[in-house]
Symmetry: C2
Subunit: 236 residues, 2 copies
């Protein structure tokens, strides 16, 4: 997906993206990462995913009362980091820590290629800078929808809405379904919706039996077309 | 707070903002709203809050199984909309519905003044357009932190982090504390963190007894300086 597909009024010249990747390569500002390898990031830099996909997660501050035995037992079924979304190929991201939560980027698939440049470098490419801004404008709108999903009180509502939003945003059509091209563990899903791996596993089973989702052989998650249509009913 | 305070490298010329508000007034693109009055919005338009504050909320799709008696009883203590944040004076917002969740804007305080213009109008003011983009870029980063807060499994952790993020973003310093200048009901807080009014009331009492928060006479929420420092410990 081109990142400008949804909001930009003009189509992005592919040449510029390729020019910038070439420029990054000749300036040693590009690297290929193994699956689950952390991508070192700094504020003031903008990162471009040229191949593969990046997973953003946040780590919560250490709560002083998290060291009790009770919490240690519970932590076995809970990640200490929250899944915040994917950045697919052709999309930018940045990480500006301003809080006790620290946000980190990982290569979600093997051989993910990332280039980086300074915001001021973008002054050489004003059209491209506007594309970057459009991408963040779009991501901001998507995150408002994520927050809408997470404001629901019942875990199964949060889970269903979260999966539909993910598949709408990143999914690819496959027969009657739309499937997430990336794997995502039940613990990772739980970390996004404020629940646990065990609860997610139980509720995913319920959604499968209701025919709302299906799981392919490679474990990827699909939403059946009817459920997705309902989720998109208000689309313009 | 000027919206460019945090991310823009140049200070925003106040003149331009005032020029645009003047322009909006002479073109009948400005209105003053009563407290809790809904602000009609359309995609493709950008809204500028010139005075007061706007509250963004989202409404969830009607779930078919929400009509059971059990749910009706539970709904008494739950809003059917989720609080998504404030837009203060000097800041822009837009609403681009692309999902089953519909996002709405309300005047949060009385006599909130809002102007609007088309994105293409901004071509006349390229510097101002960049300021708008910077504001959305900043809001996107803030929403990643909100999502981090809501990924926590324990309701009290979600509540504490949520209040700290709100006060960091919108608060004003008052003696040792930092206080939210806007009122927010326990039901509204519950709607943001996936909980209920009753639970929020109980946990707010706990946070008060622990000295983490205090409530002023006008019901506004304050975070004590120490807790806020801890929340900001990783700040650059």
């Amino acid at each position: 997906m081109q990142f400008s597909e949804n909001l930009s009024e003009e189509s992005r010249p592919i040449l510029t993206w390729q020019n910038i990747i070439d420029w990054a390569q000749t300036h040693y500002r590009e690297r290929i990462f193994l699956k689950d390898e952390q991508i070192p990031t700094r504020p003031q830099l903008i990162y471009l995913v040229n191949r593969g996909a990046v997973r953003l997660v946040s780590k919560a501050p250490n709560q002083p009362d998290l060291n009790s035995l009770n919490e240690l037992e519970e932590s076995e079924e809970q990640l200490d980091e929250a899944f915040l979304g994917f950045i697919g190929a052709g999309l930018p991201f940045e990480i500006v820590t301003e809080s006790s939560f620290s946000i980190h980027a990982y290569a979600h698939v093997d051989r993910t290629q990332v280039a980086w440049l300074y915001w001021q470098d973008l002054e050489n490419w004003p059209d491209f800078r506007q594309e970057i801004y459009e991408a963040f404008r779009y991501q901001h709108q998507r995150k408002l929808l994520w927050l809408s999903a997470l404001g629901q009180r019942r875990t199964i509502d949060r889970l269903t809405s979260f999966l539909i939003l993910l598949v709408q945003e990143y999914g690819t059509d496959q027969e009657q379904n739309c499937c997430l091209p990336y794997s995502l563990t039940h613990a990772q899903i739980g970390s996004a919706i404020g629940s646990t791996r065990v609860t997610v596993t139980r509720l995913m089973g319920k959604l499968r039996r209701q025919g709302i989702i299906s799981i392919k052989n490679d474990n990827s998650i699909c939403i059946n077309g009817h459920s997705l249509d309902r989720g998109q009913a208000d689309n313009r």
